[in-house]
């Protein structure tokens, strides 16, 4: 299958809500990226988190298998350190092969849940 997508992606509006309502883990408030790898080889993904008041943190290493989709909650990234909740951040995602990256946020701090999603910015 054809490789589609880009090598470099970014988004700047990251902020994981702290409050959650409802059963966990389904209803944990979270930021998430969905990475689509249409190619025949594994995509080695590096994630870098940028903050307003400190140097970037990363590389968070993730692999997406050939011809697979992988959803990654930013909340769950701990290596090299946990991404703090309720703190503004931006994110740069690089891949060794073209992939498609979508960003989404679920905020369940109140019972009327909200979900938003957008494409990350294809930077290359």
């Amino acid at each position: 299958m054809r490789k589609i997508g880009k090598l470099d992606w970014a988004f700047s509006g990251g902020r994981i809500p702290f409050e959650s309502t409802g059963e966990e883990p389904e209803f944990n408030s979270h930021d998430k990226i969905s990475v689509l790898n249409t190619s025949e080889e594994a995509a080695k993904i590096g994630i870098f988190i940028f903050y307003e008041d400190q140097a970037p943190v990363g590389n968070y290493e993730v692999e997406v298998e050939p011809k697979r989709l992988r959803k990654i909650r930013i909340n769950d990234l701990i290596d090299p350190e946990a991404v703090a909740l309720e703190r503004n951040y931006g994110c740069y995602i690089r891949s060794n092969i073209p992939v498609v990256v979508q960003f989404s946020r679920m905020a369940t701090g109140q019972q009327a849940n909200g979900i938003m999603g957008s494409m990350a910015f294809p930077a290359d």
């Binding site: 966990e24 883990p25 944990n28 991404v83 703090a84």
Partner: protein, 395 residues
């Protein structure tokens, strides 16, 4: 001066001298010299502990030349392990002779002597901590003399030496009570918190069982190990994550690339889960904003060592983790009072804030231990300022 740094990097200091001597005679001479100079001696181990047990401005010893399993005896199931060997090295070497330790912790990079001396443990409600293997000892006391002792010729003293953090002497060789080498089967599953709690009593019946709780998802990972004598359970409510089998020394530990700091408390089993629920509540309400590391819950059989954290109590341990290099004390210090509220005793080799005044109240045989300790080390050669804070609250 050379800097000594522990595994996580959270403790570093400059000892007066780091020395790796090659013979027992040289070690005896060094202890005599230190005692006559009023200096302190500590053994560095592998540097896995994150409490400052080995911190000294004077002599820090490495026993790296003391290796190689000796005198394996399949009939009595005993073998002698020199004090410079790591848990991993000992496990591998013992296996060659058809012997194995009854259990190890989740990591095997520590020296076995350090793991024994701090009451380090694995998991399994019928399995005591690693110090329970200690049948006999060859060590150097604070006068620089070689002492040999075992459970048959002096069981009461062995109860003191078993978990003593190098405060009575320098372990040279440990005669261990072992098991014939055995295969283990390991399975891990991701399960909901509710299912983990509902099945906790049943899961505890496995030879080895523990679970991680993940603060940011409220999910758990259960880990089960059995020999071929026990039946592996079918976990219908979990999604399989891992399945392995092999010799025990290869299956018990898991590799750890990511470094962390840790606080672990040992709780009486009847109060432990109530404590865990309270800890979980506080972590969810406050700490998961910055902390994503999982908590580990393990079960341990009681032992009779005088100051073992599991002494006289069937136990459950709860450990907190945070990435090495990040601020961990705010989190650990906020949770520690909950552990104490439920009668917790700290793991000697991990982070805690307790001093002698509090510790004494946690151990019924505290005074007996101190009396024996002084007999072996009358000039306090092994009592550094930190060790003194742990043991001598009146000073």
């Amino acid at each position: 001066m050379e800097v000594f740094k522990n595994w996580s990097g959270s403790m570093s200091f400059k000892p007066g001298q780091i020395i790796a001597l090659e013979s027992e005679e040289q070690l005896c001479e060094l202890v005599k010299k230190a005692t006559s100079e009023g200096k302190k001696v500590r053994v560095a181990g592998a540097g896995h502990s994150s409490s400052p047990l080995v911190h000294t401005k004077d002599y820090l010893l490495s026993l790296k030349h003391f290796r190689g399993v000796e005198d394996p005896d399949l009939k009595t199931k005993r073998a002698t392990v020199p004090a410079g060997m790591t848990v991993k090295e000992a496990g591998k070497d013992l296996y060659r002779y058809g012997l194995a330790m009854h259990n190890t912790g989740d990591v095997d990079v520590q020296t076995l002597a350090g793991a024994i001396g701090t009451g380090t443990h694995g998991t399994g409600k019928e399995l005591p901590n690693l110090s329970a293997m200690l049948y006999g000892l060859r060590m150097i006391n604070g006068k620089g003399e070689i002492v040999e002792i075992n459970r048959e010729n002096d069981p009461e003293t062995m109860q003191a030496l078993q978990v003593s953090m190098g405060s009575c002497g320098i372990f040279l060789k440990m005669r261990l009570q072992l098991e014939p080498a055995y295969q283990l089967y390991r399975k891990e599953y991701c399960v909901s918190f509710k299912d983990c709690m509902q099945n906790f009593e049943e899961l505890k019946k496995n030879r080895n069982f523990d679970f991680y709780w993940y603060p940011r998802t409220d999910l758990c990972k259960i880990r089960i190990m059995n020999t071929d004598k026990e039946k592996m359970p079918h976990i219908s409510y979990g999604s399989p994550e891992l399945e392995r089998e092999g010799p025990s020394h290869e299956i018990l530990p898991r590799s750890r690339d990511l470094k962390f700091d840790e606080m672990e408390y040992v709780l009486p089993q009847e109060k432990a889960m109530e404590c865990f629920y309270e800890v979980r509540k506080q972590v969810k309400e406050k700490w998961r904003r910055t902390v994503a590391w999982r908590l580990l819950i393990r079960t341990i059989k009681k032992d009779d060592a005088l100051i073992s954290p599991m002494s006289g109590r069937e136990s459950v341990t709860i450990s907190l983790h945070h990435n090495a290099g990040l601020r961990f004390w705010d989190y650990f210090k906020a949770i520690e009072p909950l552990f104490l509220k439920y009668g917790g005793r700290p793991h000697w080799g991990k982070k805690h804030t307790l001093k002698a005044g509090t510790l004494k109240e946690l151990y019924p045989h505290w005074d007996r231990f101190q009396k024996i300790r002084k007999k072996f080390d009358p000039e306090s050669t092994f009592l550094t300022p930190y060790m003194n804070e742990l043991f001598n609250f009146e000073k």
